[in-house]
Symmetry: C2
Subunit: 267 residues, 2 copies
């Protein structure tokens, strides 16, 4: 048994949707969350910038003595996972591999859509891994840069977000996809409006659930689960103050938490 | 006469709309532009973060031996101007004061709207200065956080941006404003769609023009204009690569420029 916390980081506060899934499947685990709100978003930035920031985030979480790190951010998972793994012995989990496995399970007709930030789509990570696992499957990717600011603005299902979703997603539904990977931690917040745009026949795949499951299995196999009775402790760190943290805590975790501000550039 | 360049910085590439105005009124001046594309946007961040970044940007421009610095970014101008001025002897010009003067000239009925990022509106800088100059004037402010990502996505005048503009601006037009300050360097790119939302009776005020004029007067009074014949040299630095730079160079400056990438965190 290992009572050390699980570290989770994201480019901002979107990763709280991943924390939600971790809390659901492993309520007794301690969690340390870091949201890089000073440098959010990662999705519009270069691979080099995303990698530099990701390495700093890993170094910060290491100072909290974590037993594993979940990279909640799809952009960091698809651009910088190798670099992070090369930098530390702590096991690091991205959201892409579990997301890929969930997509493979979800599709019946072999036509899968992937939506994410510009950097995630540009990396081609989902496409490469889905086709690597099953070359029969066709993947159609689309960057939806406005979904993050729409979610942060709280416009998760109004006429503007519905119109933006239609603009982005019509070309994917025309390809006849039957599964759509929500390849960005913010997108589950827009689930209803994305669902309306693609129709009921398309299954929405949220990599966060599969990721939490994968980490649980990994820890259990190594006897590293925290088996202490009761609910684990959750600590939240941000690199800048933001109103969105409180709003998303309520929306995703149904609870208030306080966040501590740290200077990530010094790590 | 002083042939040293004028420094201009912005949180990203939106400040190219300010460079455009500087090039128009002072074509022979040399210009060094820095766009903090690695940490864009500033508008959603705290005063502390914006000030820290602004001071680094000033330090970087100082290494280029500039004779004056224009803070093209409204968020930095309204949150961090004092801190920047305290940090150096180089004259520093924000866009807020010239924008305020232009708004005072534009309004006939004394009802002025101001739109900007969340941080600009939260700072209250425009409101304070407009009312300071003329307490009779009523100011109505509104943060429009989606306008920057809309402009960066190239959706400057489509159905999504028109609907977003309507959502944001209806409450301002209902107040009976006759002038609207575009308090963010990106907003002139959405001019048509903002104009449609507020109607022809509302005059749109772009602080960039007034700023370029103010800097020209300042330099002329001190005999610091560059009177060399021909067009000045323009150099562009960014803290991260971005496709938007090329797109905006074409759109705002009608020309291609190359940008050099620098690591701003080391300044």
């Amino acid at each position: 048994m290992d009572i050390r916390p699980i570290g989770v980081f994201d480019s901002g506060v979107g990763g709280l949707t991943v924390v939600k899934q971790v809390m659901k499947v492993m309520p007794q685990e301690n969690i340390v969350y870091f949201g890089d709100t000073a440098r959010v978003p990662y999705g519009t930035k270069s691979k080099e910038a995303v990698t530099k920031y990701s390495l700093q985030n890993v170094r910060f979480l290491q100072t909290k003595d974590v037993k594993a790190i979940i990279v909640a951010c799809n952009t960091a998972s698809s651009n910088s996972l190798e670099a992070m793994r090369a930098s530390t012995d702590i096991p690091i989990f991205g959201v892409v591999v579990p997301g890929v496995e969930a997509a493979l399970r979800a599709t019946k007709n072999g036509r899968v859509g992937v939506i994410g930030t510009a950097a995630t789509v540009r990396s081609g990570a989902y496409e490469r891994m889905i086709c690597g696992a099953n070359p029969q499957i066709q993947v159609f990717s689309k960057a939806c840069p406005l979904f993050v600011p729409l979610a942060e603005e709280g416009w998760t299902d109004n006429e503007v977000s519905r119109l933006a979703a239609q603009n982005y997603l019509t070309e994917l539904t025309q390809k006849g996809i039957d599964a759509l990977v929500l390849g960005c931690t913010h997108y589950p917040l827009l689930k209803r409006c994305i669902g309306t745009a693609v129709g009921d026949a398309v299954k929405l795949v949220d990599p966060a659930k599969a990721t939490a499951q994968q980490v649980m299995t990994f820890l259990a196999e190594r006897g590293q689960r925290n088996e202490t009775q009761g609910e684990g402790e959750r600590r939240f760190y941000l690199s800048d103050t933001t109103d969105t943290f409180g709003f998303l805590c309520q929306k995703a975790l149904k609870r208030r938490y306080e966040a501590q501000i740290i200077d990530i550039e010094t790590y």
